[in-house]
């Protein structure tokens, strides 16, 4: 259940109560597709302060498979994480050539990337899987079109998404105490976005997610779509911008009223040396850090910054030591978590707009790349 605590213009703080505790909003979820964050242990996530992670029901149903999870009763017990778990439905995997075979009104035909076999999943199948997996918040099945598809095509994906959403909500067993979120689509077309947000908002979902964004449309169109959607979503529903993101996008989205985020961005960046700092993203692989005795970010209190120098982390990157990903991921996830804490605090103290302005003034962004930017 969701409750708003503070508001400043569109931005708000609140509490999302799930079977496994209370998650203060706005919050960011590290991705744990197969039941673990990338290179980061549960203990480290707790140290970072993450109260929720997101796994992927579709992927888990293939491996380890439902029989294993049922033997362990639920995902919490299988992976030994006792805080909130979201499960994504597999809609996003429709974008992936290694998964999608075809999709129609009935559901989606996936290729199993582990063994090449074809599997059909109806929206009802996905909900049953998500119920058996036992996550705290389950996502409806949506049909995510690629950016650049025709308006007709995207309108049809949106129609199918709505059809599936109705079927998901109809079949979901409320007795299980799992929350269920719907996902709206509509590409970057104002009329489709508004219609979709309104449609999903009018169903009996506990939250509304904004899907199909951050996939190559660039930041201007993305924020237009966020804005158009949120205007149609009731205030009392949790708003979840899927797949986003970067420090600068998160802070902007919060100012538009978003409560919830998940993204590969922090760990994907760390894999290539991209490290978040107060003054923007740096690339730790650059030669200028070879002798640098200072921590990754002077202001950061993460375990990596408290112990190591830029020079040592640079050395681990330059020599391809696999532990580099762990250290980069811990730092970047800690940076985002810390940002969420500062965002919440500033909204509570009614100085979020000021905080946002100051943060974005310091945090340098490569504007040129922004228009082509994609999270997928």
């Amino acid at each position: 259940m969701f409750k708003i605590d503070n508001e400043e213009n569109q931005a708000r703080t609140g509490k999302l109560k799930t079977m496994h505790g209370v998650v203060k909003t706005p919050f960011f979820m590290p991705i744990a597709t197969k039941g673990t964050a990338k290179q980061v242990s549960h203990e480290e996530l707790e140290y970072i302060g993450s109260n929720a992670i997101i796994a992927n029901a579709f992927v888990l149903s293939l491996k380890p498979g439902m029989e294993v999870i049922k033997k362990f009763k639920n995902i919490h017990n299988f992976i030994k994480w006792d805080k909130t778990i979201f499960t994504d439905s597999g809609g996003f995997q429709i974008l992936s050539k290694s998964f999608l075979h075809k999709a129609d009104d009935k559901g989606v035909y996936f290729k199993n990337p582990f063994d090449g076999s074809k599997k059909f999943f109806s929206p009802e199948d996905i909900i049953k899987i998500e119920e058996e997996i036992g996550g705290d918040v389950i996502m409806a099945l949506d049909y995510v079109p690629h950016y650049g598809n025709s308006k007709d095509y995207i309108a049809d994906c949106t129609r199918i998404t709505h059809l599936w959403a109705e079927r998901c909500i109809k079949v979901h067993n409320k007795n299980r105490k799992q929350l269920i979120f719907g996902i709206c689509q509509g590409g970057t077309f104002k009329d489709l976005r508004e219609k979709s947000a309104e449609f999903i908002n009018n169903l009996d979902f506990d939250g509304v997610a904004l899907g199909g964004l951050g996939i190559g449309e660039g930041r201007t169109l993305m924020f237009d779509a966020v804005n158009q959607s949120i205007k149609k979503i009731s205030k009392n529903k949790t708003r979840y911008l899927m797949g986003v993101g970067s420090p600068e996008d998160i802070i902007k989205a919060v100012s538009l009223g978003v409560d919830c985020f998940d993204s590969r961005f922090p760990t994907m960046n760390a894999r290539h040396g991209g490290i978040f700092t107060k003054i923007g993203k740096i690339n730790i692989e650059k030669a200028c850090y070879k002798y640098d005795e200072s921590p990754l970010d002077e202001n950061c209190k993460c375990s990596v910054c408290k112990k190591f120098s830029k020079a040592y982390i640079h050395h681990l990157y330059r020599t391809y030591e696999p532990i580099r990903d762990r250290y980069g991921n811990i730092h970047n996830l800690f940076f985002i978590q810390n940002l969420m804490e500062e965002i919440k605090k500033s909204i509570e103290e009614n100085r979020f707009e000021k905080f946002k302005k100051e943060f974005l003034k310091d945090y340098k962004i490569n504007e040129e790349k922004d228009s082509k930017f994609s999270y997928s």
Copy 2:
């Protein structure tokens, strides 16, 4: 400095005092070639109970390079590990096609694997590098022949090793308070092994390492060589069996009087699913563990066994989650460290032979593979 505390037949416990603390012997060092253990953080090594690690002076001199280490004053400060560090000299890299160009009486001509350039290192160069790196125990340069080389060839490598050892000891600045260990060679030839151990033992080294073993000669010949060498090494010198090893080889080597070990074996195995347990090495990737709710080893108190099931670790292995290596490494290193603790305790209590017998009775070994076994 080294002091023996307890003896039971050839096995002994003792204390090796270095600039960075006391290491109780016999002990096992995790490998930290480039300044980090593989996937395992310093904090985790401390949790495991490792009091010493071994880095590679030759590799560190190439990357990050001596200028970086000198800027940080020493390796301890660069990598932020304040316990004992051994540095290997580069002798072992002579075995590697990606490093060796040629070697002669003067020294070794290495290819820099990072940029292809050729570099000459004399024994004096290596000692200077090891002194500047600032490890607590530095190793002399040795010439490691391949198993299967002719006796004449191995005799010549041994002659060169002795020549280099004399030059290393001559040039080493004792004021630095670093301990220095010599390395004996001799392949699997009794006369060469004995001669080499005697020669190295008679130089002013603080410890004597047994080099060029576990490289394909099989366990019978390896233990023959260990036995032949140790008989020629003074009791009061630390004996270091380089590159070994497995639980069963460590316990046998201790019974012959070895004090010190390092090996890739625990982490190399974990990378391929090989997990040490009381009843022998299991392969966690096997289908039989898919539903297994028990920990990797019922008797183990490591952080992985305390939290996770075999089924979850199996799942991480089967889905190639990179964190699998960390969990496998932590468990295997903890297993070895725990074995060292049990070995020390049983020698102190004069029941090592009994403990060894019981351990080896439970710990199943694939004898067939033993004859071809290699640690390199």
